[in-house]
Amino acid sequence: MSSAPSHQSTGADVLIVGAGIVGAACAAEFTRAGLSTIIVDKGPVSTGATAAGMGQIVVMDDNEAEFALTNYSQQLWNEMADELPAAVDWDECGSLWIAADDEEMQEVERKHSFYSERGIETEVLKVAALERLEPNLRPGFRGGLRMPGDSVIYSPCAAGWFIEQACQRGAELRLGQKVIELRGHGALLENGDFLQADITVNAAGSWAAELMPELPIRPRKGHLVITDRYPGFIRHQLVELGYLKSAHSVATDSVAFNVQPRKTGQLLIGSSRQYDDETRDIDPDILKRMIDRALGYLPGLAELSAIRTWTGFRAATPDSQPLIGPSIDDEHLFLATGHEGLGITTSLGTARLLVDQVLGRESAIPCEPYLPSRFRQGGADG
């Protein structure tokens, strides 16, 4: 009996490369719309940035495009909150932006009016209220902004659940299979198989440019530290307002105070941003700066027990907006990547916008700011 050639594939409507949270959310959305879907990943589900990130579901206001996508996505998360399996650890702890000086207090006011105009609930905290809500903060801060609508999840399990839903609706999951060439009508795997599909989606996170070198994506490294369990040590995700100034400075390495209470009682200490270091090693100097920064806000952290440190890579684009939509050169090859430090949050909005474009549906928010075509030669500058 002669064996069938291995590079045969039945073909599907959609082939998604990457089973991180973005690829997983897209798979759930495509199958919900009735499209036959294949998901392929070189590793297990959620091994990339999705395993490394903090999992905060957050609304941001750096610019209108970022606000629109984070706000829309957060609404989608809230709608499914009741259905999420317990392992996702959904926690509506809210977040708290901390103002260290008068300038940052002005930023609190600015944010408050920005959000109020758009119907987002926020609360300006004076010194006493801040100290009452978060007694472990060092005394002397000027106040803060509470965002009660922000949540925290355990993202690997959220991605796992999206994949599970997709598979229940007939999607085919191929793990441990690396794509080495990606085209509009399919993908060539390292094992020689060719998977055929009407359209393909590059959701390979910070590896997206390995498959498409023309993509303007650079891995941006981040460090995190997790502690043992200290329930109640902090109650909100605490973030510094200098965050915007320091963390988003594109050129240099930076650290910012960002500490999150996990539902397990553990604390996740962040955050750092670095370009041009593509090893997964811990950089002791960055780690030191990051922890020192955190100790400046929460001196009591010093005594707590740290159990592990790790690093992850964000897929950064020149204008800090993701790439959602058809690629520039091939209308069958779609992109869903470039989510930098917000991909856990924006995975849901991304999946909706992408499927809207594929099916020609109207979107709830404008999709233009995220279209890959903005990087076309002579188009919008990055």
């Binding site: 091994t47 043992d228 922890i291 010093a302 005594e303 707590l304 740290a306």
Partner: protein
């Protein structure tokens, strides 16, 4: 705040392997430092032997060590490796930066636990673990202890507990009778082992030694407790106050992995001179493969001599080492864990105690990484030291990565864990 020390030869682990290495390197005039997380030297087998030796070999080595100069850092754990030629250590009070020219890893092994229904009950302990508790003062006199699992360690532990007044009705050895008998016959080639075996046999007279036998569950409350044992199709309950279990030993390869040393079938790969795949880093004893005292002592000497530049003297020990390792291979073959042990957990048996992960949560995963990410298995304070060795047998998984800190440390100590790069690059 961070203390700094510099050594020609730094040794991690003060068991027989590390001590032999320390002696040889110091004797050759090198500045030697020895780090161990216990409060006294001796490692697993020579615990407590420094002050009151009962074993001739221990007495001999501690006597030698008294005559030379070395710095011993007790109660100190290696937690990180921030740059070439530097290790970070933590003694709870402070962080130490230890610089070295040559490094010898003698980190030993730990017991393997296997999960079965009831294994998390208070009366169920590690075999070596119970021995250590008794050595440090716990009274066991008059208590009934069933010793179960695999390997010669069970006999050593049972004999020790008996000397301390425990009642040991039986030892349950999972290995088949044929293999154990062949192993025992093979001891004729290793006279020292034969003498030890004869001594153990005498000490354990009256204790049933059941091969092909293993625990399938433990049950009990404050008033009464027992273990259910399985042997050749028969299952029965054996009353006991303690069940001391050990399913062989697992090399402590976390630090070697952090250093980038190549790992082969669960232990560190070394060459003739005990050098690992990383230049200037040596490994000796259990961490290079389970073999007990003899290989640890010879390998320690080889590494200590080589690290001190005495290659000729080191070479003379190659042949004794080969014979000691040959015993280790027989040991491994004889006490290989049987497939049936994979069936002993129930669906709801806890496998990862730190994170309360059940057996049935793990079965759908194909790798340690996948299971860890989706169930949190191995994410707790022990970082998979216990459940990692269990899932290796149950599912054939191996741990993928080791991240600092190797042991939990205070957050502020992590922040001190930096070294200036130019001073560290000149040593490699």
């Amino acid at each position: 705040m961070t203390e700094r020390r510099e050594f020609d030869v730094l040794i991690v682990g003060a068991g027989p392997g590390g001590l032999a290495a320390a002696y040889c390197a110091a004797e050759a005039g090198r500045r030697v430092g020895v780090v161990d997380d216990n409060s006294a030297a001796g490692g697993q087998i020579w615990r407590g032997e420094q002050d009151k030796p009962t074993q001739p070999a221990a007495a001999e080595w501690f006597e030698r060590l008294r005559k030379i100069d070395l710095e011993f850092l007790p109660g100190t754990r290696i937690v990180g490796h921030p740059a070439n030629g530097v290790l970070l250590a933590d003694d709870d009070q402070k962080l130490l930066e230890l610089k070295y020219d040559k490094l010898i890893l003698a980190t030993g092994a730990r017991e393997r636990f296997l999960p079965f229904p009831g294994w998390t009950l208070p009366g169920v302990t590690g075999a070596g673990g119970l021995q250590a508790l008794v050595k440090s003062g716990m009274s066991i006199a008059g208590r009934r202890v069933v010793v179960a699992g695999s390997g010669p360690l069970l006999l050593a532990v049972a004999a020790y507990l008996r000397r301390a007044g425990a009642i040991v009705p039986l030892i349950a050895e999972q290995a088949p009778r044929g293999r154990v008998a062949k192993f025992a016959a093979g001891l004729l080639a290793h006279p020292a082992k034969l003498i030890e075996a004869a001594r153990l046999k005498w000490e354990l007279r009256g204790v049933k030694y059941l091969t092909d036998c293993w625990p399938v569950s433990a049950e009990g409350d404050d008033a009464e407790s027992s273990v259910t044992l399985h042997r050749r199709g028969r299952t029965w309950q054996e009353p006991c106050d303690f069940l001391a279990c050990g399913f062989g030993l697992v090399p402590n390869v976390e630090l070697p992995m952090l250093l980038g040393c190549e790992i082969e079938q669960g232990h560190v790969r070394v060459d003739e001179s005990q050098q690992t795949s990383v230049a200037g880093v040596y490994a000796v004893g259990e961490v290079t493969g389970i073999g007990g005292l003899e290989p640890a002592l010879v390998e320690g000497q080889i590494a200590g001599l080589t690290a001190a530049g005495r290659d000729e003297a080191a070479r003379r020990l190659h042949s004794p080492r080969r014979s000691a390792r040959c015993f280790a291979e027989k040991l491994e073959h004889a006490f290989q864990l049987r497939d049936e042990l994979r069936q002993i957990p129930d669906a709801d048996t806890i496998v990862c105690r730190c994170e309360d992960v059940r057996f049935d949560q793990l079965t759908e995963h194909r790798s340690w990484r996948s299971a860890k990410l989706h169930t949190r298995c191995g994410m707790g304070p022990c970082q998979g030291r216990v459940c990692g060795a269990a899932t290796e047998l149950l599912f054939g998984w191996s741990m993928d990565s080791v991240r600092p800190p190797l042991y939990p440390v205070r957050v502020e100590h992590l922040a001190q864990a930096t070294v200036t790069r130019e001073t560290s690059s000149d040593v490699d």
